[in-house]
Structures are given as structure tokens and as C-alpha cells.
Amino acid sequence: MTAPLIRVENLKVEYRSSSGSVTAIPDLSFEVAPGESLGIVGESGCGKSTLLMAIMGHLGPSGAATGRVLFDGKDIAKASPAELRAVRSGGIAMVYQDPNAALNPTLKIGRQLVEVPMLRPGVPLADAKRLAEGMLANVHLPDAASVMERFPHQLSGGQKQRVVIAMALLANPRLLLLDEPTTGLDVTVEAAVLDLVDELRQTYGTSLIYITHNVGVVAQVCDRVGVMYLGDLVEEAPVEALFAQPRHPYTRRLMACVPRLDGDKHTTSFMPIPGQPSSLRDRPPGCPFSPRCVGFTPGLCNHTVPVEDIGPNHRVRCFRHRESPLFEPAAQEIVAPAEPSAELVLEAKGLSKIYRLGGSFFGAQRRAELSANEDLNFAAKKSEIVAIVGESGSGKSTFARILAGLQDATSGKLVVLGSDLANTTASERTSEQLSAVQMVFQNPDATLNPSHSAGFPIARALKKFKVTRGGKETQSRVAELFEMVRLAPSLMRVRPARLSGGQKQRVAIARAFAAAPDILVADEPVSALDVSVQAAIVNLLLQIQKTKGTTIVFISHDLALVRHLADQVIVMYLGKVMESGPVSSLFAPPFHPYTEALLSAVPVPDPTAEQRHVRLSGETPSPINVPKGCRFASRCPRKVGTICDEVPPPERKGEAGHMILCHIPLDELAAIAPILQHKPSERAPA
């Protein structure tokens, strides 16, 4: 290996606060070669961002780092402020997680870009402008000159991220740090940004440190991967080796939590990691993973674990990583899913929702119509899981809210257990109707009232729905519900601030089931959670559903997850159903062109898989005053002509209730090659 571009040696980072100091990173070493791309995966709070900030020398007033960060042979941990500025403006640049927040809202894009090259001596404004414009073109922003003149809020999320990337590249960095650059972007946009990162790497030969929680993304853009847990790099390996043969118990379990496009609930089960990460305050002695590890051996694992070289570039920190069978899934962890019965519980017929928007500030905009749901048709059986997928703005949540009664529909029917509730909001529904449909929300931080204990809303629901009478009975029922969602009943009295995201979502599920609903509407219930927590919640939902026979309307933007748990899938785009049908029919041709693009955008956690690239131009257009033809026409790569712009496409019916809304006939669509070429033999776990 050539001399490393950056080498981190025994890095230790502490944060001080009034209530003592915590160690975010105890002792970390790694290196990156010139032109190499290192991915670092880990779940939230494991210290990924801290690591980047330590490299950048910007830990803030409360953070302090020791150890060495050798960039190009020079220790930048000890650099003077001026030297540090020089490194930042010409050696290491960074791309941030949230492009909306990373750009100054009151300065024009051009202004923010030109200041980067102008930090180099002898670059006049005119040259800087030229460089900036050129770079905007390099990141494929159309019409660079006009982008220069715009404010950040006049760009979409994906465009902003391209601007941020351009800004980083203008410094001619030799090392680019990317902190979750695609989290929060829609999958199709994410895919395009990842392509861009890949392409720029080829052209500029920049080294990357790419931080993410998404194992699939790492498989796509990195040469080497480090797995981080509680501030430690527990495993480090070339990307193929890591995916083919994860060795550390944490890596193994993490991989088994990742939903895949080629497995469903009948064939595979997630293996969630028991417990939750220790807090930084009570880091366990020795192996950081020990409290959650099946292989924990007292007297061994509570000693400092050495780094062990086990292959070319493959390092592990575990005493027992060789004992593979130990870490195989136990039989009782496999969830047997429920089977849908024939009884229909929910039916939407021509359901539509139109928002009428008032004028905006300064009356610049006249009344407009936003059609959030148009002509929704589907039916759900008892014990069935119907998944609704789509990117942001596709109207998924609108439907969820109509179903739950938080909003009324504009037209159409929504038959729930025999009665039409399309225009009956929660306050008008009877207790029976209300308890029949309950909801779990997306944001764990908003789902519970910070002023009330975790058990409070559940007790309240039991009382309002007259499930229990009197305090004693209610309390014991709340405790039962807590046990059902695998929470210690003692947490009943705890305020939400002391619960983790996953725990909050469990409470929310318990709250929903307090009313013994026939239908559960789950609006992205796991999107805000780490993948291992997500796996646990999904397993939990499947288990509860099996015992209660609940119908679940599961809303998600994650196709792999939907593939895992749904019986029936509905793909929405701009308020309209593009494709629907049984889960098996959706993930194989014939595809709707939009579904095809979505599938090809999913980051596949398998570096050996061949994924066909279908990329959409631009982003989801505004749902206001949509075109009268096909809603997907402006981005469709298979558009057949002006007919798509002008004539609404027909519903093409396939087998077993499969429906595709497109002008292209089914047999033509069926002839399209599948997105993924499976190579199952290479994916067998070691």
C-alpha cells in the first residue's frame, strides 16, 4: 500500500459538560490511501459525525481530542488556526447531512461558492465565478449561471446537495468527508447523488470518507468499510469481504437486520439485536458490544479487545469471532407471519382529496388546487398487510390521515367494516368506529406528549374506549400492553424524554393497540429509527398482528422493507396509484416505469449484485395543477410520446389483481429485464 493520505492514530474524543465528561471515541485508528474510498457505518450516536469533526479540527468548545491525525504526514490535530484554515480550504472538504441547513439562507448560491476558490491567493472574483459555474455544471446542475443567482430556498433538496458537493470540490480537496449526504433525500434523488459521487471520484481521484447508517449505500460507493459501535471500529474490511463474511457479532447482526429486495417475511426473518446501545456514560469495560452479545464471556470480553488481522485488510475486534455457529440465528427468533383471511375489512373506492390553497404572502399566488389523492381504489382483507410506497409528496400520509379520521376526503368512498367513513372525521366517529382504526405515527419525538408519562396516553385510551374500569384494572392492562411491546412495565411512569426512539415507537404501538383496533395505520413507523431498531419493531408488528389478526396499512418509502413485510403493495406518485398488486407481482416484470426506477434506485446491500441503472431526471414536480395526462410523464424514461402528456393512461390489469397505470401494454412491460441479477451462491453467510 502506498503512503496513506490520512492516518488517524489513537484518536480519543471527549465531550465536557456541566455534569461531567463523556468519551465519545475512546481509541480509534485507521488510514485512507490516496484515491481510496472508506465507508463508515454505524447507528445513530455511535460517533460517526464526531469522528469527522475531529478530523476537521472542529469539535466545538465542549469537545477535546487527543491522538494524532496525520494528513499528508502532518499532524493536523496540532495545527495552528491558520494551518487548519489552509487544510480546510485546500486539503479536506466536507459534504453535510442536511443540505437545507448547510447553506446560508440569505446569501445567493454564487456568493457562497466563490468564496471557496477566493481563499487561495491570487484568485480574483471573475476567475472564482468561472470556476464556480464550471463546477455547478460538473455536478450536473442545469443552467449553472442562473443557479448562481438563486437563494438556497429556491432549489430542491437534491439540487442543494449538488451545490454543497460543488462547494466542497471547489477547494480541490484531496480528501472529501461525506456525512450522510443522502439521508433525507428521496430514493431516486439519492441514487442520482450517489452516481454523482462515484463519477466525481473517477474524474478527480479524490479520497473519500463516507459516513452512513445505510449498509446498502456503503456497498455501492466504498472500497473499504469500517463498522463503528460506541466509538470503536469493531470491524474493518474490503467491502466484498465484509458483505460476504461479516465476522464481528455486531456486524453479523446488523447485516441480518437489513431488509433486502430478494427476501420476504415468509422466507426470512430479521434478527434484531437485543437491548439497546449503552449510553456513553456507562460504557461497558472491555468490549463495547458485550451487554448485547450472545457470545459474551465473563472474564474474557470485559478486557480490552485487541485488533486482530484476519485477512487482507480485514481487521476485527472480538475474542470469539471464529466461533461462527454461536452467532447463527436461534429458531425462536424467526417470526411466522399471519395469513390474510378472505373477509374484507377496508375498501377505498374512488377516494380523492383536494386541498385548496390560499394565496401566499404578498398575494403573489392565486388560489391553487393540490390534488393529494386521486381516485384511490383498493381493498384490504382481515390480517392483511397493505403497503403504500412512494416518495415524498406522493400523498401517502394524506391517505393515512383520512383513514384514521384526522382529515376528510373530498370525494369517493372509504368503507371500514361496512360503513363509509370517507367524510367522517375522528370527532364525528362513534367510539366503535374510532377504536376500529388506530394509528402509529412517523416521528418518535412527536408521538408522545413530553409532559405526560409514557403510560398516560394508554391509560387514557383504555378509559375513553371503556376497555377497563377503574384504576387498578387500567394499570394492569397498561402493564400488559407494555409487555406486549416488550417494554418493562416500570417504564410506564417515565417521561418520553428518557426513552429512546425505538422505545417511543413501542409505546405508540401499545397506545394504538389499547383500543383493540381492527385496522392499524402505520405511517412510516420505522423511518426515523436505526436499522436494528427497525428490525425489532417490524418483528414486533408481525407478531402482534399474528395474534390479533389486525389489518395493517403500512406506509413507507423503503421498497426493501415493503418487500419484506407486505402482502399487497400500492405504489403512489403525485397522489395517484401507478401500480398495485400482490407483493410478488410488484418486484418482477412487468413493472410500471416508475416502480422500475424506484427499484433500481434502492441501495442494495450486496456489492456483488448487478443492479440495472434506471435514473430519473429531476425530482418529483409540484403536485399543484398536475398535467392532465400521465402524472409521471415529466420524468418517465419510457415515455412513449405526447400521448403520455395529454391522455390519462389506462389501467392495465394483470394476474391476481395486479394493476399498472400506463400507456405501454403489459406484454411490452413484461419483456423488460429484471432490475436485480441474483447471484445467491455468493451471498451465503459464512
Binding site: S18, Y355, G359, S360, R401, L434, M439, Q442, P450, R460
Partner: protein, 326 residues
Amino acid sequence: MASTDAPSDVTALGRPELPAPPEVMPDAVAASLTALAAPTAPGAPVAALGTKPPNLLRRLPTSPIAMVGLALIGTWVVLAVLAPVLPLDDPNRQDFLSLGNPVPSAKHWLGVDIKGRDILSRLIHGARTVLTVAPFAAICAYLVGMPLGLLAGYYGGKVDLVVSRLSDIILAFPIIILYVILISQIGPSFWNIVLAVILTAGPGIGRIVRGLTLEQRHLDYVAAAQLRKESDLYVMAVELLPNCRGPLITDFCLRVGYTIITIGILGFLGLGLPPPDPDWGTMVKEGTTLISVHPHMSLFPAIAIVSLVLGFNLVADGVRELSLTD
């Protein structure tokens, strides 16, 4: 401003959510300003209300600033409560013998005023009035302003329009001018001052509560409450109001402080509580006639007012800081 994908934002498009103007209570606005000025994306803003309140008051001792403030307030409260049993002069007895040399002495620790009355005794007895009127008036203003803010914020639409417009009109008045016109016409008395405080502070409180309510209205826990058929009243009182307490405690302290200032100003302008009750503002006013010879006559009551107001402002700042950190 394009309104594309977030329908729940629709109602917010009309007008930028400007911070409440400072017509009433400058710092009260500061407390709510960050909350109000930030555009509220649905689902995002919990952090602003998030985790702080439960043990806010229990954590108060960790804030040195708040403790200094509490000490100042506490001293005055103790003195005021003990006034009847302290060995003090009758606050209205005129000691003509001391008038010749009214400066502080062993007999009159803080001297006597222009009429020969013991300043210390008048200050302590005056504290009784001020410490009753100001908090009481502020509480009354809260009892009026809070429900209005909740209604306007929760229902929005027409209710909001009516409530907000009415309060805008009152808030447009420079506050002292409003006080002067009001009190000069209806006369200074305990209840009239309470009335004036309700009228002037109520809309400001309403506006803060409205902002905090708007922030929460679309949060999921409110939806969850609606899904179990809670009444609107319940949602407002049990789900929304408790989360407003951080900013409201801060605002309350500031408001009491400002009410003390206002009562002082009224006294100073000759619109103070009618004699014989000793009134700090009136004492400052009376003292100014002799300020070139005996400045202590107005200095001491001025210091009294400042110390008490400072106490409330410090506590407010301590609470605000606590509610911002963890």
C-alpha cells in the same frame, strides 16, 4: 413561497410568523421569539418544546443567576410578610422633629421623607402592596390571555382572526400611554390597576400562547388524542398547555417585573395608589422635589423598585437558560 408537498403547512402560508412585538413586555418576546420566528415544519419542532419542563423548577437551584434573583425577591417577601411584627415606625406617622435633618440616622435607618415619615417603614409596607398587586394582576392577565391564545392557536381560522385582530389593536398602543389614559380616566385603585394590567398584558400573553399552540397543534400526540375522542377542551388544557410552561414561567416572571415597573411609573406620574398606602413610585416622585438637597428620599425607593424588578428578571433569565439547556 411555493407550497408544494406539505398540506399541513397550508394554513401557515398567509403571513410570515412575525415575532410578537415588544409593546408589552420586551423580554417576554425574547423568550418566545426563537420559537415563533422559526418556520415550523410539521413533525420537526418538538425539540423546541421537547424535553425540558418537568423538573425545571426543581433544577432552579443549579442556576446561580436564578438564585440571586430568588434571594432578592425572597428578601422583600420576608420583609413584607413580617412588616406588622418588625419594630418599624408607623409608615404614616410624621416625625416633625426629624424633618430638620431628614437623612439616615440611628432612629430612621433610611431617613425620613418630605413629610417626616420613616422611609424604611414606608418601603417595607409599600412592598406589601406591590407584592400583592403585581403578581395578582399578572395572574389575572394570564387567566384571560391563556384561554384566548389557546383558542386562537388551536382553532385557527375565524376565531384566530378575531382574537388576533383585537389584540393587535391593543398591542399597537404604546403601553404607558394606554395606562395613562386608562388610569387617569377610571382612577387609580387596586382593581383598576388589575384591570389595566389584564387589558394591556392579556393580548401579549395570548399571542405567546397562540404561537406555542400553533407549534404543537399538528404534532402527532395531539392527533393521537383526537383519535381517542378527547374533547377540544381536554386537548387544549391537558395536551397543549402543559408544554407551554417553560416559556410561560419565564414570561410570567418578566411580566411581574414589568408590572412592578408600571405601577412605579404610574406612581411617579401621580397616578399611584391613593394615600395613605405607601407606594414606591409615589415616594420617588415626592422625593424628587427635594432631590438637589436630600437625594436619599427618592434614591431609596428607586433602589427598592430596581432590586425587586431585577430579582424577577434574573429568575426569568435563569429559567429561560435552564429550559434551553438539556
